[in-house]
Symmetry: C2
Amino acid sequence: MDPSRDEPRTPTVEEAARRHREARAFDPTAPLEPAVLDRILSIATLAPSPFDLQPWRFVVVRDEAARRRLMGCARNDPRAGRAPVVVVVLAYHHPDRTHLEPMLAARIASGACTPAQAAEIRGRAASALRDVSDRASWATRSAMPAAALLILAAESLGVGSAALEWFDDESVRRELGVPDDHSVACLIALGRATEVGPPPGRFGLEEVCRAEHFGGPWGA
Amino acid sequence: MDPSRDEPRTPTVEEAARRHREARAFDPTAPLEPAVLDRILSIATLAPSPFDLQPWRFVVVRDEAARRRLMGCARNDPRAGRAPVVVVVLAYHHPDRTHLEPMLAARIASGACTPAQAAEIRGRAASALRDVSDRASWATRSAMPAAALLILAAESLGVGSAALEWFDDESVRRELGVPDDHSVACLIALGRATEVGPPPGRFGLEEVCRAEHFGGPWGA
């Protein structure tokens, strides 16, 4: 039996993206069930990443006192204190040092690739990452798809979320003991939203897109 | 009548994320229909962004000669030449200068916020962005959710995709005439995949997550 038959159909990618509204306030008395939190985090780990290196780490802050301290790192945004969970998405600068071999070994073990294919991936990853001069920027850029998917996954499961955009990097690092080889990509508050932002309002494709070249008008 | 009734149900967020495999090769004879491309791009514009500033631009490269030149900027990755479309996602450094007022005006016009609320958002955005020392990194980080959603939207509509990770930033900028106040966030090839990568294989939450603090084991 398919267990998903028992649950209401969750929205499609487009529906979830269209429905999403940033939570403006959270209900501090409504906990986020551990199974739902685990599912959101698990979906986030499915995000694509360069060479499948998955350069993200999630520090999951649930303790109330810890969230209050985190609030102090985020310009006293009350959502950090009131949402039952704040996920701090970190970006790891050197996943090629520690993630690449376990990832390739798992793929070989599962039959997903041959040792020769693994060697080819290893070579390409090493060459590509040798060219990366700013590892912190590279890692942050590469970790953001997981943060985006985390927000979309929460939306699709009916959980409110807000990216707390305005935080002091150094204070967050100190508060959570983040080592120098990790950057803080973003802070995401999760819980039951009691108030959400307005419909975001999007620029149309004629504004956002260019054809063939930066100067090329779209749809011309 | 609901036109979506006529089309097969597209996958949920979790299904699309689980199904996604990077395209290893594309069918150069299979075009991407303009309506499908528009829908993928439109879904990508729904991504969340700081203060809804939407700091992304998509240069959509379809011309074959242009794609071949782009291939030369991406270590000769044949996918740039063979996929019918390559979307170059750019990150704009100063959306607060040019996007904020139109966005607020549209919200006021639609009744989504009052002039007083708009003034409050304007103030918070200005303060937050004043603190951003590295605009290129900020913009790239803020544009990546749109890139991630673009890939997920393509997956959900049955379109193959691959992020071309290894490109020369300067060559891409020169080729596409990208001005200095925009960064190249990523290159995404789109089309009919004739070969896809292996199941990606994910690190489990016990590896990825930390509880309360960087040093806190998950699930302990």
